[in-house]
């Protein structure tokens, strides 16, 4: 389950930054980039809290 959440999180980060490079290169329009960035933000914040801090807690308990 965590692997799936992580994949969605990283897709969220990719959706945040990659579209801007496509605007820079003239491949997509700025409006589409803004929509994709919002989708990226939602993907990140809906999934990252479930694995980022849990991973740290597990590491701390091992230590």
């Amino acid at each position: 389950m965590q692997v799936i959440l992580k994949i969605i999180s990283y897709i969220g980060l990719a959706l945040t930054v990659v579209p801007s490079f496509l605007v820079f290169s003239g491949t997509i329009e700025p409006e589409l980039h803004k929509t994709l960035m919002l989708a990226g933000a939602l993907s990140w914040f809906l999934t990252a809290p479930f694995w980022m801090n849990k991973q740290k807690q597990a590491k701390a308990s091992i230590e």
Partner: protein
């Protein structure tokens, strides 16, 4: 339910008056996330435009940011972190041992108020973003007083969320910053890249030419002074003077396993400050001089950009309210930290209602760093130099005095001398930190020699008399 929540909050131990125990120390990643989050902040959306407005040239900006931020990192790693990991105490408890309870109480009130105003400005920056997608009437940066009910409601909502996270302690702040940091950094990068074609930057090769002619063209806006390489360098170095030279981050770095974790500030300085200040400069140029944080982020990155400004404000305000809570708690140690932080959060939120706080941010940040800096110099000298001179470190604690006059005179005299240099010699406030540190260090050594001799002499006589 109410009792249970209060008990839970009372049980959060942040080691305000004891060294952090070994099992509570944190790894490097905690500090990397904390620094990256804290310094990729709402203020960057104000500071970046400032360089454009003040007409700094592109070479001066890039070189100044490189040198200034390197000096800031070294200040954290060499001045602050080694003391933090040796004593593992909060700034306030360490100062109490050196300066005595009365002096630290006065210092802490000033300090906490400044932290409240700083956090308040961050709440205001965050609120300028919150209102955009909902069409809430927000004040402009030129407004001094609250302008609408919608603005006030937004500020109170943002302030409430930030205060609750700060009440839950360092663990919660660290978790929050860790989640936000990677995304925020990418939003800054993405927003800048997306508007580059509007400025005529269509390849990496064309960036430098456009940067010099259309973004940082070296011409200040009318009514603003011209910034040079030295302004950028000292601004970058001393923007967080209160945290490194002023030793504010003793409270954070006391959790570090090793002093080398002070270098974790690299993420804050280079990914945060350098990248964010450059990115926000690009955004301002693309927005034809518009400098309000919310709108420039919204124009370039849509709702995600507005969310970024809001979160960037949160991740700075959170540790600042936490620090203010610690400052007040050291004055009233018997009151639980969460109750103190709740009060601090309320004061901060009320301050955030006034947009003037954002407009005066740069002057305020400079003043706040300068006010706290002499105490950082006192801690440094007390830790490294005082024992080598045959004098006593932690003097107030050693002689059980509530007031160390040497420290008090050092603090006040340094600030007066800095004010003199500012008013009568025309030295700008951001350049005063360096001479100010040496003034404070010298004064504290000289005054400690005089004061400790004067105070310890009667003690020694008393001891020798009783021994007969």
């Amino acid at each position: 339910m109410k009792t249970s929540l209060a008990k839970q909050l009372d049980s959060i131990n942040e080691y305000e008056r004891e060294p952090v125990p070994e099992h509570k120390l944190k790894g490097l990643k905690s500090f990397i996330g904390m620094y990256a989050g804290e310094h990729t902040a709402g203020t960057e959306f104000v500071i970046g435009p400032l360089f454009v407005v003040h007409g700094v040239s592109a070479p001066d900006l890039f070189l100044g940011l490189l040198v200034g931020n390197l000096l800031a990192i070294l200040s954290w790693a060499i001045l602050c972190a080694p003391i933090a990991v040796k004593v593992r105490l909060t700034l306030y408890y360490q100062l109490e041992k050196i300066c005595g309870r009365y002096l630290v109480s006065g210092y802490n009130i000033v300090n906490a108020l400044m932290f409240c105003f700083l956090a308040g400005s961050m709440i205001a920056v965050a609120a300028t973003a919150v209102g955009i997608p909902f069409n809430i009437a927000m004040p402009g940066l030129d407004d001094m007083y609250p302008t609408s009910v919608g603005w006030m409601a937004t500020v109170f909502l943002v302030g409430a969320v930030i205060t609750v996270v700060a009440i839950l302690g360092y663990e919660q702040i660290s978790k929050f910053a860790n989640i936000c940091a990677p995304w925020m950094i990418l939003v800054f990068i993405a927003a800048a890249f997306a508007v580059m074609p509007q400025l005529g930057i269509t390849s990496f090769g064309s960036f430098w030419e456009v940067a010099q002619t259309r973004i940082w063209n070296g011409v200040p806006v009318e009514g603003f002074s011209k910034f040079t390489f030295w302004h950028v360098t000292f601004f970058a170095w001393f923007a967080n003077m209160a945290m490194h030279i002023g030793m504010g981050d003793l409270s954070i770095l006391r959790y570090a396993r090793k002093w080398q974790y002070g270098f974790a500030s690299t993420t804050g300085m280079f990914i945060g400050h350098v990248m964010a200040w450059i990115a926000s400069g690009v955004l301002v140029a693309a927005a034809s001089g518009e400098v309000t944080p919310g709108p420039i982020a919204f124009n370039s990155a849509g709702i995600a950009g507005a969310i970024c400004v809001m979160i960037a404000g949160w991740t700075t305000a959170n540790p600042t309210i936490y620090r203010a809570g610690l400052a007040i708690q050291s004055i009233v140690p018997n009151v639980k930290r969460w109750k103190v932080t709740l009060l601090v959060g309320l004061v901060t939120t009320v301050a955030a209602l006034f947009p003037a706080l954002v407009m005066r941010l740069l002057d305020f940040v400079a003043l706040y760093g300068l006010v706290l800096m002499p105490m950082g110099a006192i801690i440094f000298i007390d830790f490294y130099i005082i024992p080598k001179l045959g004098l006593r470190s932690n003097y107030a604690s050693m002689v059980k005095s509530p007031f160390n006059a040497a420290a008090a005179i050092t603090w006040v005299a340094t600030l007066l001398l800095c004010l003199f240099l500012n008013f009568y010699q025309g030295i700008e406030i951001f350049f005063l930190g360096l001479p100010g540190w040496f003034i404070a260090a010298t004064l504290y050594i000289v005054l400690s020699k005089l004061y400790q001799k004067k105070v310890t002499q009667p003690l020694e006589v008393k001891v020798s008399a009783s021994s007969f």
